[in-house]
């Protein structure tokens, strides 16, 4: 059997068929067997039915990107083959119940009667464990590890259910092993790095954990895919951590609550997607005017309007960059991967508190719905120091200062009074129509940009420092860009990736000067980040790879498109 570096397993079926159960189990199983793993899903906007698929990559070294390639496909319903037809190649091994999925003539499927075996054990619901067992057998894992993991996975269920699932997985395992031993099908792969200390988390979990680590103690949100995850997760842990988690009547309420909460001493966030964020924009402007800290998580999906609710895109950068009437400072972070989602979310709270500005964390459906193993999160990597001051009787909320930052007091802490106003205001927060004071206040607010820019995250250069071709990306395309460059493996090419997209670190300008050719990669239709680079640094990029069909970039398409673009004159 040929040794692989990474195997891609795809499960496909209707919503509600148990794909997620198999996925969750296999992730645990492979991780406990010592393999780096990765899983991402694409699904339709419905509760039952449709065609949904999950891709699991089992690899020798950590991977964190979507691939088109399917080494092993397990279709669970008749529509699955049609749904994934474009991705099926002669090398794709398909295991399924022929009777149930009725494959067309030209697609050959190895018949594995999951349901029949499950029914023999006592109930068709055990089919998922049969399927998991087959996969374990194909990879030559230890049967004892499989049954041990079944025990843990179904730990809360009755002993009979656990026993039946063990039987089902064992039967499946034997079938898989038989296929492997006879040389028909099987995978040979050995892990090169240790994963036992790693954690396996999704992007949504990383955002939520990062928020807690940043001292978040208040979340207000209206559910909207794919941004709902942090509301769900923080609500589930609200009592454990004594925090406030409230599902509100609309996004307008969410953002105004979050700002009210910061005013009274909480550390608050909202989470949403583009449409919900559009409703929040007046509140963003309020945060700008009253110099309120605010953390906004936006998981992007394709628009305009309702767009594709369960798909991915990097289409809301322009919206976030310009959201809110008037001019005021802001910070926009865009984590490149799951580890960064944790640390940047934590940092977002610190930045918001320190500079008294709205801080945006831009993710997308791809990142929040993807999970893989990452090194254990450390709480102390980002310093979190609350900035509230105890007021004195003569306290003035908007005292004019050289760096524009006025010490932030809160009501009920100290002997002073704290007044904030959405009107232009004087140092005490009272309405003013003094036009000279207006200018001073506007300058004070904008002055904060200097300090904010000085601490901006610098872009990261991936691979060669001696490059001629520079591939530029931002946010969640980091890992797919890295893997594509590894595959291309040419010394003259490097990638420059931005995890902070506003304000941009001034140092970034030099990277563009050194490049002969620059290629822009964005998951949107108009190259929004490219426009920002042009405005900021005067860089014009006409080699652009843009994707906006709702799917993330795959390694294969980026490899081929980068190679094409770099050879174009």
């Amino acid at each position: 059997m040929e040794k692989s570096e990474a195997v891609s397993i795809v499960l496909c079926g209707e919503a509600g068929q148990g794909i997620q159960t198999i996925e969750a189990f296999l992730i645990r199983l492979f991780k406990s067997a010592g393999y780096p793993i990765f899983a991402t899903k694409e699904y339709m906007s419905r509760i039952r039915g449709g065609s949904n698929s999950t891709e699991i990559r089992v690899s020798s070294r950590p991977v964190a990107a979507f691939v088109e390639r399917m080494d092993l496909l397990i279709p669970l319903d008749p529509d699955a083959l049609g749904h994934l037809e474009n991705r099926i190649t002669p090398d794709t091994i398909i295991l399924g119940e022929v009777e149930k999925i009725s494959p067309p003539e030209h697609i050959s499927v190895i018949d594995v009667p999951f349901s029949k075996i499950a029914a023999e054990i006592g109930n068709p619901i055990y089919a998922n464990s049969v399927a998991s067992g087959v996969v374990a057998g194909l990879f030559g894992l230890d049967l004892s590890l499989v049954t041990e993991q079944i025990q843990e996975f179904f730990g809360a269920k009755s002993s009979e259910i656990i026993q039946k699932n063990k039987e089902a997985a064992t039967k499946g395992f034997q079938l898989g092993k038989e296929l492997r031993d006879t040389g028909r099908v099987g995978f040979e792969i050995s892990p090169e790095s240790t994963v036992s200390d790693d954690i396996v988390v999704s992007g949504a979990e990383a955002i939520s954990l990062g928020a807690l680590a940043g001292g978040c103690n208040f979340i207000a949100a209206y559910p909207m895919s794919p941004g709902t995850g942090p509301l769900t997760i923080l609500s589930q842990h609200a009592r454990d951590f004594s925090i406030v988690a409230e599902q509100v009547e609309d996004e307008i309420s969410a953002v105004n609550m979050a700002i009210g909460a910061w005013y009274a001493g909480a550390r608050a966030m909202v989470t949403t997607s583009g449409g919900g964020f559009a409703l929040m924009t007046e509140g963003i402007s309020l945060a700008g005017m009253i110099e309120s800290p605010l953390v906004v998580h936006i998981a992007q999906r394709p628009g305009p309007a309702t767009g594709l609710p369960t798909r991915t895109e990097q289409g809301d950068l322009d919206l976030v960059l310009y959201a809110g009437h008037g001019e005021f400072p802001r910070i926009i972070l865009a984590p490149g991967n799951i580890s960064e989602a944790f640390y940047l979310m934590q940092k977002a709270f610190q930045l918001a508190d320190e500079f008294q500005v709205p801080v945006f964390v831009l993710t997308d459906q791809f990142l929040v719905d993807t999970y893989y193993n990452v090194p254990m999160f450390e709480l102390d990597r980002v310093a979190v120091k609350p900035r509230i001051v105890e007021t004195t009787a003569d306290y003035r909320r908007y005292v004019l200062t050289p760096d524009g930052i006025s010490p932030r007091g809160i009501p009920g802490y100290g002997s002073g009074l704290v007044g904030v106003d959405s009107d232009e205001h004087d140092e005490t927060g009272h309405i003013t129509e003094d036009l000279e004071l207006r200018v001073q206040m506007q300058q004070k607010r904008m002055r904060k940009m200097e300090a904010i820019r000085a601490v901006a995250e610098k872009p990261r250069l991936v691979s060669s420092t001696d490059y001629k071709v520079l591939v530029v990306g931002w946010g969640t395309t980091l890992e797919v860009l890295k893997e594509a460059l590894t595959v291309i493996n040419r010394p003259e090419i490097a990638c420059l990736h931005f995890s902070q997209v506003y304000p941009l670190a001034p140092e970034a300008a030099d990277y563009f000067k050194r490049a002969e050719k620059i290629i822009l990669v964005e998951n949107n239709a108009t190259g929004q980040f490219g426009k920002l680079l042009h405005t900021t640094f005067g860089v014009s990029i006409d080699r652009r790879i843009l994707k906006y069909n709702g799917m993330p970039f795959s390694v294969e398409e980026l490899v081929s498109q980068i190679v094409t673009k770099m050879t174009e004159e």
Binding site: S196, D198, I199, V200, V201, L209, L212, A213, G215, N217, F218, A220, H237, A238, R239, D240, F241, I243, V244, E246, V248, E249, I252, S253, N256, M257, I259, G260, A261, Y263, A264, G265, A266, R267, A268, E282, G283, L286, I290, M376, F377, L379, P386, I388, I410, P411, G412, Y413, G416, L417, V418, G419, V420, D421, S422, D423, T428, G429, H430, I431
Partner: protein
């Protein structure tokens, strides 16, 4: 303490001479003084409009936010620090029009705050257009042939939503209004005071005289715990009843968040349980 304690440093008041807002401000200061609520313990939250400027003319902590959005901010302020007295005060356009959705859902949520709505049945700051509470037939520069929409009935809506405390007051009656404000502020839960006032500049119909002739007080034997009776009174429009329509004591938003009243630690004193967070992260191994 005396009402001097609440004298604002702002002297340039932007209300018209004779505006009902002056009366409301005076009564509010006296009420706060009589209740012994210190300016440092008070947060006034408002939206936009002439009524929404009230917090500037009263020495206190204040959050003068966006048009229609006082209630979400007030709810969050109370939740973040339950030791504060929180009053959300704005006009009828702000609370019942722009903020109508928050009005309904704040009643459902029942935070322990007081909601004072200056109701003069007209838009003042934007110069005389109809408000949600304007009567049918009321003519304005925009509603040239008179208002045709059904007037919003905040009292009936609040009772329909089982609000914890619902009252209507009239600024012309100082003693009665103060008594109502006192009850509202000390009520534990969401308390609505729909406070009738004339707009001397833009509403020549609902004048001081008109309010005298078109209101009456609920009698001493009126039972404010009877929701059906309260709703019936709320529907009266010939003469508007004044007083406390409805009281239903129940768990507040803060109670439901698991905060015990009085023992609640303000969130600015909250500390992350790092061990618990590490434990949560470790379960992902």
């Amino acid at each position: 303490m005396g009402v001097e304690l609440y004298r604002s440093e702002v002297t340039d008041i932007s209300w018209c001479p004779g505006c009902g807002n002056f009366g409301i401000l005076k009564l509010l200061k006296e009420t706060l003084d009589e209740l012994n609520i210190k300016p440092e313990e008070l947060v006034m939250v408002s939206g936009i409009g002439q009524a929404a400027k009230t917090p500037h003319y009263l020495r206190c902590n204040f959050f003068n936010g966006l048009h229609g959005r006082a209630l979400p901010a007030a709810t969050a302020i109370k939740a973040a620090n339950p030791t504060l007295t929180v009053i959300a005060e704005s006009g009828d356009g702000d609370m019942y029009g722009e903020g109508g959705n928050h009005f309904m859902h704040t009643i459902r949520r029942n935070p322990n705050i007081t909601n004072i709505v200056h109701n003069n049945m007209v838009y003042g700051l934007t110069k005389g257009q109809a408000s949600p509470t304007s009567e049918r037939g009321f003519k304005t520069p925009v509603q040239l042939y008179g208002v045709v929409n059904e007037p919003f009935n905040p009292i009936a809506v609040a009772i329909a939503l089982d609000a914890s405390f619902v009252a209507r007051a009239y600024v012309g009656d100082g003693a009665q209004t103060k008594a109502i404000l006192k009850q509202a502020i000390t009520h534990r839960g969401y308390a609505l005071v729909d406070l009738l006032q004339p707009c001397v500049t833009f509403n020549k119909h609902n004048t001081y005289q008109w309010f005298r002739e078109h209101t009456y007080y609920l009698k001493d034997d009126y039972d404010p715990t009877n929701r059906v009776e309260a709703f019936a009174r709320a529907l009266e429009t010939e003469r508007l009843p004044l007083g406390v329509f409805y009281i239903h004591p129940k768990a507040t938003f803060e109670d439901n968040l698991g905060m015990e009243d009085g023992q609640a630690e303000p969130l600015f004193r909250w500390k992350l349980d790092r061990a618990k967070l590490m434990e949560m992260i470790t379960t992902k191994q």
